[in-house]
Amino acid sequence: MVAYTILSGLLFGLYFSLMAIGLNLIFGVMRMVNLAHGDFIMLGAFAAFFAYTLWNMNPLVTMLVVFFLFIILGGALYYLVVPRLLRAHDPEMLSLILFFGLSQIIQALAVIAFGNNQRSIDYTALGSGTVYLFGQGFEESWVVVASVSLLAIILVSIYLYVTKLGVATRAVMSHREEAASAGISVHRVSAYAMGIGLALAAIAGVFSPFMIGSIDPTMGTDLTTTSFAIIIIGSLGNPIGTIVGGMIYGLSLMYMESYQPSWSSLVPYLLLFIILLLKPSGLLGRRMRNA
């Protein structure tokens, strides 16, 4: 039981990291608080659902399609709202409210388009077998999702630490003004970050039916708070810190579900609260407190 709890915590930890990393990328690059993050996850989930039920599309294929679609969507969304927002007095606070409004819009449209019913995908779509890790049996789909999540996180790291655009992205995260002084087009870099951030959320959504359970148009709200808990535990504005946050969250959640299920809903908030008060910048971060 202990081994099972730990291993499933790690598998889910990887998935949770994927779920939250896009939110952190967006916050890190443009200091925008994307309260609609969970709703983009929901859209990914419905994409997977319809692709599977209508065309029997493998979720891994759906993932690729969704990824590119949402990069474009994210870029467009960026130019539509963010430059205007950045001119305001307190962009960070206003972004919180703006994206809350956006979240309402997405949920409303989703209810109109998809209806209210809970839906789920046949769990065998990502493999029906049992995979044995260290003598413990796990659903094949969990292992597939965890592996894909790991791969996605590695790709994000390569993007950020190896590619030219990635270096520019980190420059913008570290110091907007200085990056602009070097001639980096902050808008272009931010638009990419927004696109990639939303795309990562959407692919996490594609896998959510296998990891989280049945899906519905209003599922996003909880996922947004969960994602916030994860990135704050890791460290806001540091995408790689998200992995630490995801792992801690995954392990503690699985521990509580195994031994104290009725308190398990409290986990993300409790972790979030403690970390905020003890180390507001997250476990890996620096300077974030107010004077």
């Binding site: 809970q118 359970g213 049945s214 009725s262």
Partner: protein, 406 residues
């Protein structure tokens, strides 16, 4: 004393009053304050088009609408107090699964629309706020499915539960069945809400009376969607039967995870396959549901001695073509609420709310509908129905039910 306003402040004050009255007038203009002519009777109700209760709420609302459409096609309901047939008009608002919004809307139905008959939305949460409001305004509340035991008190005559017994007595048959089968190792998992917890309490105390102590008990939040870990925890206790009391979403997630992670239990009981088979089948699949134990309700359960309204076969034929919605238990419950109201109007010599309540008492126990016997106790709670235990059996491409315990 006279207060002299400056011009500007007076302007502001005027603007304020104007905007306030405008917004309030906006509200009142819309419902057009329920035109009440002797030729129609207004039934007020709420439904939820979004939020956590939407699926169930829409089903039961469609059932009620179907009833109204059916009687209206026949020229309306015979109202004894008016000595003639009167058409039924349903006035419905959307509470979006929010109890706070529902409170305002129940109030709107009573105070502004002055509906003749008040029907609650699905479930205990959305019914809870209606109970005190209805009592305060001396309006009889027809409660369709809100089975929370705390609603029903001797001091409140303004409440009638039309279908389903209060949830605390649901598991009686299940307990009998488990005892009879000499199931010694029982695991009970429940969601921490009124509805499921009261069933859990009943089941455990009945089992204990038969000297069966559950080998595993656990309460999980109603929002739980991933049961894999819990499955493993239950499996560790090595049970012969696992009982899961949840809402539809919980039952779906629970059954799905059982299929997915290869944990196998000899007997599994969940509530909702018996009430919303179609929804469950869509999400869990036929093979995932096969052999599951459940409380079968109409349409899985057919009551034969129907003496009022359509029998099941007719309902199954007509309902989908009128409401474009598959038949499930909640559509039956909604329809049944309509039938009880119909009988009330046919019986009651007056249209006063208490008069109607007395009428309900007078036919309690004599009415057999598609949903079984209608019988209430002195608090207005349903006691006529008793939920049997059945097992879903794979038959061809679909599922059939085998009754195990009545």
């Amino acid at each position: 004393m006279t207060i002299r306003f400056s011009t500007r402040s007076r302007r502001i004050a005027t603007a304020l009053t104007l905007s306030a009255s405008l917004s309030m007038v906006g509200m009142s203009a819309l419902p057009a304050a329920a035109v009440k002519t002797p030729n129609q009777l207004v039934i007020g109700t709420l439904y939820a088009s979004s939020g956590s209760f939407a699926t169930s709420s829409i089903s039961s609302y469609d059932g009620l609408k179907f009833w109204a459409a059916t009687v209206d096609r026949q020229g309306g309901v015979y109202v004894k107090a008016l000595h003639k047939k009167v058409k039924i008009v349903i006035k419905a608002y959307n509470d979006q699964s929010s109890a706070t919004t529902a409170a305002t809307l129940y109030n709107q139905l009573i105070t502004m629309d002055k509906v003749n008959v008040l029907v609650s939305d699905f479930g205990s949460v959305l019914t809870s706020v209606a109970v005190p409001i209805a009592q305060e305004h001396h309006q009889l509340l027809f409660d369709v499915t809100g089975t929370g035991a705390s609603f029903f008190t001797k001091s409140n005559p303004y409440l009638v539960l039309t279908s389903l017994p209060t949830s605390a007595i649901w598991p009686n048959s299940l307990a009998d069945y488990l005892v009879k089968q000499k199931t010694k190792r029982v695991a009970v998992l429940y969601d921490t809400n009124d509805f499921d917890q009261s069933q859990y309490n009943t089941l455990v105390s009945r089992l204990k009376a038969a000297h069966i102590t559950p080998v595993y008990t656990g309460g999980v939040p109603t929002s739980t969607t991933n049961y894999a870990i819990i499955d493993h925890a239950i499996a560790a206790s090595n049970p012969q039967a696992v009982v899961e009391f949840g809402y539809p979403n919980n039952d779906i997630a629970f059954l799905q995870s059982l299929n997915a992670n290869g944990v196998h239990f000899p007997k599994v009981f969940t509530i909702f396959p018996g009430q919303q088979l179609q929804l469950m089948q869509q999400n869990v699949g036929v093979s995932g549901l096969a052999n599951t134990l459940t409380y079968p309700t109409p349409p899985l359960l057919q009551y034969n001695r129907v003496n009022f309204g359509m029998p099941l076969s007719a309902f199954e034929k007509q309902f989908p073509s009128v409401e474009h919605h598959p038949v499930d238990f909640l559509t039956v419950a909604g329809y049944n609420a309509g039938l009880i109201i119909q009988k009330t109007l046919e019986t009651s010599p007056t249209l006063t709310q208490l008069g109607m309540r007395h009428a309900v008492n007078s036919f309690s126990g004599t009415l057999n509908t598609i949903d079984g016997q209608f019988k209430i106790d002195s608090t207005g709670a349903q006691i006529g129905e008793r939920l049997p235990v059945g097992q879903l059996i794979k038959r061809g491409n679909g599922l059939a039910v085998k009754f195990l315990q009545h």
